[in-house]
């Protein structure tokens, strides 16, 4: 009887139960795919995810290093770590996001600052990240597989996004498009390396929202060289976001490995 009880206990521990009505979850904006045309010169960009937190004294060092990279081809997203040094100071805004928490968990982040290039899980950059600069340059020089550009039009907080992509080389494995909203110039408290707190530290590239599903929306394409596709989707920015400081970041990933193939960004507000 004890044996059956033990097996029953294991059963309770080792089985997830999804309640009826929760079998599906919101997966972000629905992307519609049609044939399209690339509107910008094909370029290889690099996607950098930096995990940070307001109570992380070394995080400003990583910010300094990344700030030295003055290259538009480098697309940076700062993700607030969900626990420990990522917790907000009392009374401060909470910049943790559901999407950021998912990505953090996937990487298994246990120390910040940490950064990854093109979602290559096996290579992690930590601390002041002085060696990340050369790695970014190497990634920028890789042969271009797929080029993409992104454009946004907004009417108040409603945004219509158009993504154009073109296969430069054949790539037939399933790929996904992920879109995220990031915000610059967020001034709030940050612990500094000397132990002091900067009350108005300027946080840039902060992830505010994953617009599509957390792991992207599958791209409807064949993957043959020279194929061009256009994806469009709509979303609402929300009231607590400063449109003038916000960007949309999009990146195309291999569905299985999640490695980023290329990325792009644009301002949310109409540029004219």
């Amino acid at each position: 009887m004890g044996l059956i009880g033990f097996v029953g206990l294991m059963g309770l521990c080792g089985c997830d139960k999804i309640e009826e009505g929760e079998y599906t979850v919101y997966d972000g904006a629905a992307v519609t795919w049609t044939s399209g045309t690339l509107t910008e010169t094909p370029v290889q960009r690099v996607f950098v995810e930096k995990f940070t937190g307001p109570k992380c004294s070394n995080c400003p060092l990583a910010d300094e290093t990344l700030a030295t990279i003055n290259d538009e081809r480098v697309v940076i997203v700062s993700i607030n770590h969900p626990t420990g040094q990522g917790l907000p100071f009392p009374g401060e805004p909470d910049l943790r996001t559901e999407g950021g928490n998912k990505w953090d968990a996937w990487y298994g982040i246990n120390a910040i600052p940490s950064a990854f290039i093109n979602r290559e899980k096996s290579v992690r950059y930590q601390g002041s990240m002085t060696n990340i600069v050369s790695a970014i340059n190497q990634a920028l020089n890789k042969p271009l597989i797929l080029a993409l550009d992104v454009h946004a039009e907004n009417e108040l907080t409603d945004v219509h996004v158009t993504v154009n992509l073109k296969f430069i080389q054949r790539y037939t494995k399933p790929i996904t498009l992920t879109a995220a909203l990031i915000e610059d110039s967020l001034a709030y408290k940050q612990l500094l390396p000397d132990g002091n707190i900067d009350e108005q530290y300027m946080h840039n590239h902060m992830l505010r929202k994953v617009i599509t599903g957390f792991w992207g929306s599958e791209i409807d394409c064949t993957g043959n060289a020279d194929e061009s596709r256009q994806g469009t989707f709509d979303f609402n920015v929300g009231e607590d976001i400063h449109l003038e400081n916000s960007h949309i970041v999009v990146f195309v990933s291999d569905k299985a490995s999640r490695s980023v193939i290329n990325c792009a960004s644009c301002r949310v507000m109409n540029e004219e």
Partner: protein
């Protein structure tokens, strides 16, 4: 690019498990195989003493050459020669054992998935086993009960190997009680699946544990097991494009079983239940799974009878939810149809339907004694078997991301049925005749959803098998088979371009020469509404534990099924050879 299956196929490009061989390793592997073969061929010793222990092993090598034949649908083989090879090397020293298996698919035989291509050490383990305790680290095979929640096994002919790589432990704290626990990941061709498999199983023999039952005629063994698999979250779209599936990352399955006996009677019963497990072949629905297997038998000298019942509802259980096909099953759902061996009886084989089926099988064997009217001078064996499998009666309630369906009480469509009567009689000291008649009903949908809606196929099969021992050194075997089917061949119609179609005749002659040589010649010919002519000539030589066989002929395309698990075999036309040896 929408095909979810590509997730699995794409995994070929992921980082390999690290045991596939480099070019140099491949050459060493080939040399090693040849060395092992020569060593065993010329040495009469069965086990080699090394470091106080013993080394044993076996080697198998299968080769194939095939060229195009448009009539039977065989394609040219660009490599000219295909080869599967394997060598198992086992070391044992007291309670300690270690083993490794080298495998080579350069390139895989026709019908084997191209992902097998490669060579290297595919399996290795060390183990320490005593009566009370045992532990295995590395690759291992395990089964809980009948396997409905866990069975890892390999079948070289099906091209299947779902070994777990991890740790497997058992303890027997008191006589009659066995507890097993394991954790690991499954082999996926030359890689490891991402999914993590954990399990515990316990079994109690009441006759050993309870003193008042020690001398009882009533025999009882009870068992229970639990398995859990963990997979990372992934993007599975629901029918609503703005929604994705909220996947259960840990999927559990539990089973309870009883093995009871009294006198000549025995009853095995097992019930299994699986939690929500949306995966590709159940169309990502959240309906929970269950299965029931009952097996009642009676046997006495000269007579045995058994009845088996099985009901499966959504019990496919894999460690990779986005993978279709036969790889990476954690569990095994036994077939309850007779495992036929004659060619025409296996032409339309039954494949277990993991999404849902229910069936019955009855089996009776009777021996008419010597000296009776029907037994004659040497006795007569009679074997009657019948089985019927039907689908579940379901009502569809939704697609991906829903409960999926409800199950009603009735029978679904007929999937398979057969009745066979086999009579075996020794006619004289030298001649034995076996005749078989079978009637089959086969629903093509069991070979895949693409065959849904096709009419049932009805077959009559008659077989005569005669063995004749000419003298102490020579014997002959003759086999004649006849298949009458209402299927027909029509190349212009996709649904009827199956080259099994039509009525068939087959003849086989086999000559065993002494203890070393045999020659076999056979031909299968459709004579009505069919296509092709499948002749085969085989020559074999056996010396001790070594056997070599060379064949030339044509192989019909079709399904090869073993225990309800099937592999598609394409047509081929050419030379085959095989070599097996052990030492």
């Amino acid at each position: 690019m929408k095909n979810i299956q590509k997730t699995a196929a794409g995994s070929r490009d992921r980082v390999a498990n690290g045991y596939r061989l480099s070019a140099i390793g491949y050459r060493l592997f080939c040399v090693g195989l040849i060395f092992i073969f020569q060593f065993s061929f010329f040495s009469p010793t069965k086990a080699q003493g090394i470091l106080g222990g013993h080394v044993t092993g076996n080697v198998q090598l299968d080769g194939q050459m095939s060229h195009a034949d448009s009539v039977i649908g065989a394609d040219d083989v660009p490599e000219k020669l295909l080869m599967n090879a394997r060598a198992d090397i086992l070391y044992s020293n007291g309670d300690f054992n270690a083993g490794l298996r080298l495998e080579m698919y350069q390139n895989p035989l026709l019908g084997f998935d191209a992902q097998w291509k490669g060579s290297g050490v595919a399996n290795y383990y060390v183990s320490y086993k005593t009566e009370k305790f045992g532990i295995t680290a590395g690759h291992f095979y395990e089964q809980f009960g009948s396997g409905m929640i866990l069975r890892t096994y390999e079948d070289r002919y099906l091209g299947l190997d779902n070994a777990l790589f991890g740790v497997n432990v058992y303890v027997r704290p008191v006589e009659g009680v066995t507890i097993k626990a394991l954790a690991g990941r499954q082999r996926y061709y030359w890689e490891m699946a991402e999914g993590l498999v954990r399990g515990v199983d316990g079994e109690v023999n009441l006759n050993s544990v309870l003193s008042f039952m020690k001398e009882s005629k009533f025999r009882a063994t009870l068992g229970a097991g639990f398995v859990s698999k963990y997979e990372e979250d992934e993007l599975i779209p629901s029918e609503d494009p703005t929604m994705r599936l909220n996947l259960p990352l840990n999927v559990g399955a539990a089973s309870f079983r009883a093995d009871l006996g009294y006198g000549n009677w025995s009853l095995q019963a097992e019930y299994a239940h699986k939690g929500q497990d949306p995966w590709i072949d159940n169309k990502y629905v959240y309906h929970e799974g269950n299965a029931l297997l009952l097996n009642l038998n009676y046997s006495q000298r000269g007579f045995s009878a058994g009845i088996q019942a099985k009901r499966i509802d959504n019990m496919g259980y894999k460690s990779m939810r986005s993978l279709s096909g036969e790889m990476l099953y954690i569990n095994y759902l036994p077939a309850i149809t007779k495992n036929h061996t004659y060619a025409f009886l296996t032409m339309y084989p039954y494949a277990t339907q993991v999404n849902g089926e229910q069936g019955l099988q009855a089996d009776v064997m009777y021996k008419f004694k010597k000296g009776t009217l029907l037994g004659g001078e040497y006795g007569t064996d009679l074997h009657l078997n019948g089985s019927l499998v039907a689908g579940l009666d379901t009502t569809i309630t939704g697609g991906a991301g829903t409960e999926g369906y409800t199950v009603n009480g009735g029978l679904g469509e007929t999937l398979y049925g057969d009745v066979s009567l086999e009579i075996a009689k020794k006619l004289s000291k030298a001649v034995k005749l076996t005749v078989t008649y079978a009637y089959q009903v086969f629903n093509p949908v069991v070979e895949g959803e693409g065959h849904k809606g096709l009419p049932l196929i009805h077959n009559h099969v008659a077989i005569a098998d005669l063995s004749w021992k000419l003298n102490k050194k020579h014997s002959l075997r003759f086999e004649a088979e006849w298949l009458c089917s209402d299927s027909y061949y029509d190349e212009s119609d996709d649904h009827h371009s199956d080259r099994r179609a039509g009525d068939w005749l087959m003849g086989l002659v086999e000559w065993n020469i002494g203890t070393h040589w045999f020659i076999s010649l056979s031909d299968q010919v459709p004579y009505n509404d069919g296509i092709g002519n499948y002749y085969n000539l085989s020559v074999g030589y056996t010396h001790g534990a070594t056997r070599f066989q060379l064949g030339y002929g044509k192989q019909r395309e079709g399904l090869l099924c073993i225990g309800g698990i099937c592999r598609q075999v394409p047509a081929s036309n050419g030379l085959t050879f095989s070599l097996t040896t052990s030492f």
